[in-house]
Symmetry: C2
Subunit: 456 residues, 2 copies
């Protein structure tokens, strides 16, 4: 019995035009990664489970796809454990490998494993799929690409500057105007929590602050109070609720607010350095904005935090993000390796470019000419020309069957091939070709050199 | 405790230079696929298990990597089945998805699922990793890339001609001389078996014949006798044991031998058509050779069979293969769709190019210039120049830390960066840069425009 074919939920087939559009984005990002001196690496799709487990929190562990051991895998399971029929405990007994969940942990593993072959600071980029057993929903998939660039082995803030410039360079090349690169610093958040005497409530505090956009000042205050942050403390962070003005004005506000916190002031200096440097370069397309509510990845970022928003005209979450993590490789035994990196959200950038109609019309390389097949002898005459055109870089095809003219022309039409070439006995005798322009409908008889010029 | 990092056996990390070399091959193949009018598709890394299971024989089923269901997967297993503790029966209860084993079955599934969006004949290429739980050994991996091009929806032999030309075009671009494209036809093998009255022993017969290279004429005869093929029958296929001569001579021998088999004669006519067409085109680099011992994939190929061997000077198995299968999509319910395709063996082609030193020296795009970091002010002066160079397509980097000169020069040296740029107070005052050529050791002071020209 024939099966009705389908694919697992949360996964996708990509048609030729979709592949072309995705590659347009990927290649634009890749070209800029290379221009900025990043080098590509690739890691295996699956890692040993112990490499991944415990690195993404409890929820992450659940969402990691595990690969079943091969062979008689149950045979190796202890009977007592087996009888418990406990999925959670069973997993590590019947599965030793797991699909990559992100590119950062495999990168950390790579750096530690190959540390003797690497010249630090090491600037690597990596564009590969990752898998997460998340509930699929609009714009969230179980298989998706990550496009990451990271530097490991330098604490210089010039890296942060470089990454902001890199974001700007990519969005400039994509012709995507109105992108905002939001910048914050973990030290600012820690400093604020310290100043208001709520260092132990840093997470609660930042989670509440992060909702300012959605629930407003009163909502945030209420949530903070609910989490046990005092009215007095909340009063101190009041300037954050109307955190407007130029970047310089914002930095001044922070400098005043955080004067008593050493860590906070260090965060202010870092922001100042980055902002000053960017002002000197400056950005071509994107807008740099300080956003003290930005707290993504707070559990591992230790310095700068980045998040990129799509232009306001498009309703879309962040299309990129990143930050600095002072101990990237410590989990694998290599201490004191500071890392900083950014990521591009391919799927969301795709949706933004689609909505704003920013994909170039020529994104899918179309066949330039279809040669009509009039039969065996004519076909061989054409095939020789087809191959000469290809050798000159022109995409040409011969229709494989001597089907009815209407069918062959219809095929060219459906595939929007701009030129059709016809060669029957008369053309063969004069070593010529009749070319039909499918848009204008005009046709002319030309020799091979003229044909080549016409199709170029 | 820090874990000693490692990766699963049979998988690989790829360093920047390895990625660059692999991409050199992949891009060369991809460019030719596109010139020949093939369009890219991508399918998910994992498929529903029922899409893959039963399509590759019993051994294939075993070698498919299965993905464990998420959540409390044991909860859904019937107690009776659970108590049997039978790995084989358990698998389908706790795993519904499996990693792609090749690109052909997912392609067939894609064609059936998207048949209403596709214009046939459909020429697609696909370059993606596949996974097999094979025992890893030299040159055999558990994760590896396949590079496939197939046409579905036409029975024309011009497709076979096109694929041979495509192989030739790729190996020409790779500058790999001495490649042999071996050609056979399933109908020839069936015809021979029919003529000698051993149609029921087609597999035994072809398996034995395939060993001619290794065990010689006597060995093959002995194996055939052992499989119950009569002495009389073996006498009839004697010409195959010294199957030498030009392609035309070989076809004549087959024509004589197979005169009484309709299927065999059809195979002869097909070979004749392909060989005649190729003689007219003709090939630039590769050699086309009839090889009647070639029987790869006999269980699914129905017409042409291809196999590509590396140059004789390199000890390496086949570096490519393919063939025609008359019922590609029947397993998914779409009947009468003839397909023909070829595959490139990326890993083996890599080893061949490495051994013959055919990778271009410029395969890994190196950073052209490293700007030395003398401190904050100088760094910002440099960073501005670095970004202008990048905008002009020149790969440039600023060393992120104002480390000792020796360390920075050593970094440029280790990464074989050809130019180092130095800019201190004096250069900043005159808006110039001192450039040092790392190979010759010479250095000169230039303005930005001169610097750009020098680095281009």
């Amino acid at each position: 019995m024939a099966q009705k074919p389908s694919i697992p939920k949360g996964t996708r087939d990509f048609s030729p035009i979709e592949v072309a559009k995705r590659n347009f984005i990927i290649n634009t990002i890749k070209d800029q990664f290379k221009l900025f001196g990043f080098q590509p690496i690739e890691t295996p799709s699956f890692e040993n489970s112990e490499t991944l487990m415990g690195k993404y929190g409890e929820e992450g562990d659940r969402l990691i796809f595990k690969i079943l051991n091969s062979g008689d895998y149950l045979n190796k399971v202890d009977d007592v454990i087996y009888e418990a029929k406990d999925s959670f405990r069973m997993t590590s007994k019947i599965s030793e490998k797991a699909l990559r969940y992100d590119l950062t942990v495999p990168f950390a593993r790579y750096v530690v494993q190959h540390q003797n072959e690497i010249d630090f600071p090491f600037k690597r980029f990596q564009i590969q799929p990752v898998w997460r057993a998340d509930r699929p929903q609009k714009g969230r998939f179980r298989e998706f690409y990550q496009c990451d660039a990271d530097v490991v082995g330098s604490k210089s803030l010039l890296q942060e500057v470089d990454f902001i410039t890199l974001y700007d360079a990519v969005f400039t090349k994509l012709n995507l105007k109105g992108v905002t690169i939001k910048l914050n610093n973990r030290k600012i958040l820690s400093g604020i929590a310290e100043v208001i005497g709520a260092s132990d409530k840093l997470i609660d505090f930042t989670v509440a602050l992060d909702k300012l956009d959605k629930i407003g000042e009163d909502g945030v205050k209420k949530e903070m109070l609910g989490k046990g942050i005092s009215e007095d403390a909340i009063e101190k962070v009041k300037p954050l609720f109307q955190f407007t003005g130029t970047t310089s004005e914002k930095i001044e506000k922070l400098r005043n607010m955080l004067a008593s916190s050493q860590e906070g002031m260090q965060g202010v200096e870092e922001l100042q350095f980055i902002v000053d440097a960017i002002n000197k370069i400056p950005l071509k397309t994107a807008i740099l904005d300080l956003d003290v509510t930005l707290a993504r990845g707070l559990n591992y970022y230790t310095g700068a935090i980045f998040e990129v928003s799509a232009p306001d005209t498009v309703k879309m979450g962040s299309i990129g993000g990143g930050g600095r993590y002072d101990d990237l490789t410590g989990i694998f035994g290599l201490k004191d390796m500071s890392g900083v990196g950014i990521s591009f959200g391919l799927d969301r950038i795709y949706l933004v470019l689609e909505e704003l109609q920013l994909f170039p019309e020529t994104v899918a390389p179309s066949t330039r000419a279809l040669f009509i097949n009039f039969g065996e002898v004519e076909a061989l005459y054409c095939l020789s020309a087809v191959n000469k055109l290809r050798a000159d870089g022109i995409v040409a095809e011969l229709y494989p069957d001597s089907a009815k003219m209407k069918k062959q022309m219809g095929y060219a039409n459906k595939r929007t091939i701009p030129f059709v070439v016809l060669a029957g006995t008369s053309e063969m005798n004069t070593k010529t070709f009749t070319v039909k322009n499918m848009e204008s409908g005009t046709q002319e008889e030309v020799n091979f050199e003229e044909l080549k010029l016409l199709l170029q």
